[in-house]
Symmetry: C2
Subunit: 190 residues, 2 copies
């Protein structure tokens, strides 16, 4: 069982992940996912457009949460606002490392899931850029900072799922931001 609320959406997501790991993503049908969750196929499609989308069950909520954090962050340079937004993911990531690890394993093994992941990251970029614009950052700087933010997001995520249980998401975000400064040649300020 997922540790988060066992409503229909999360039951379907949990069932899908189990089946994708047991039988493979391609070999699993929506009917089987619904069956394992004790729900109907019709219910599945009320919640998810397809069997790829079910693995992105919390993406929209995470995005909204990060956007709100960007909008509510103290004054700062564009990347400070973005880092405040990303760090707010802490509440989402806590207690979900095992789920995220298994989910990542499935995504990396399937090109069509990796495609969906890239689209989600591109959407995150767009919503973070829009949030920066609302904070008074002009384009194209807003999109550039948001794109750099998704780079930090993705690498922080990869480190976080491989990190010890006690490692915190916000710490990973901060570390990657510092490493980004290093590779860009700003180590004097780190």
């Amino acid at each position: 069982m997922a540790r988060w609320s066992p409503d229909a959406r999360s039951r379907l997501a949990q069932a899908a992940l189990e089946l994708y790991l047991e039988r493979g993503f391609e070999q699993t049908t929506v009917a089987e996912i619904a069956g394992r969750a004790g729900l109907t196929e019709r219910t599945f499609f009320r919640h998810f457009a397809d069997k790829r989308e079910v693995l992105f069950v919390r993406t929209a909520a995470l995005e909204t949460h990060m956007v709100e954090a960007v909008l509510g962050a103290p004054e700062g340079r564009p990347m400070d606002l973005i880092v405040a937004g990303l760090s707010a993911g802490d509440t989402f990531f806590r207690d979900s490392r095992a789920w995220s690890q298994r989910r990542e394993q499935v995504i990396l093994a399937n090109a069509s899931l990796m495609e969906r992941e890239l689209i989600k990251i591109n959407t995150l970029k767009a919503v973070l850029a829009a949030a920066l614009v609302r904070r008074g950052v002009a384009e194209p700087a807003a999109t550039l900072a948001a794109a750099a933010g998704t780079v930090v997001y993705r690498q922080a995520f990869e480190r976080w799922i491989g990190a010890p249980e006690e490692a915190e998401w916000a710490t990973m975000v901060q570390q990657v931001r510092e490493d980004l400064d290093l590779v860009l040649g700003h180590q004097e300020q780190a």
Copy 2:
């Protein structure tokens, strides 16, 4: 006609782009593309896996060219090597602005083409990271620098297709790199 060599691949790409603009991507068949190029459907599939891939006719060659430039660049910090790689795209981009503008218009209007574009950028990230590793950059710094490089690449591309005819690709890359420093909060060094 494309200004680059009128071989089968480029004739097919040119025909595809024209048809996608005239009728829409979804409404165009491979048979129609081949017909307009004066070639057979069989020839099309010898060169391209599908009708999305035909718009990425030069992507692999551009990647190879950029990777070689990273491998041959003077010693520097990871992002200096990446910028040297990206800047080497100059020879590819020169004289192809009109094609690139029309191609971009088609891609932005079609979700499935945008997906393919995101996959290509993800591949660019992977090959640039591998080139950095060959230059002695350790992971995860190599992937982080390469990912930042694709952010620069994408925004430089967007600026370049909207820029006056005389604007040079390498100049755009340099400007975006400086703007990235600004949004990250390193304007003191710019």
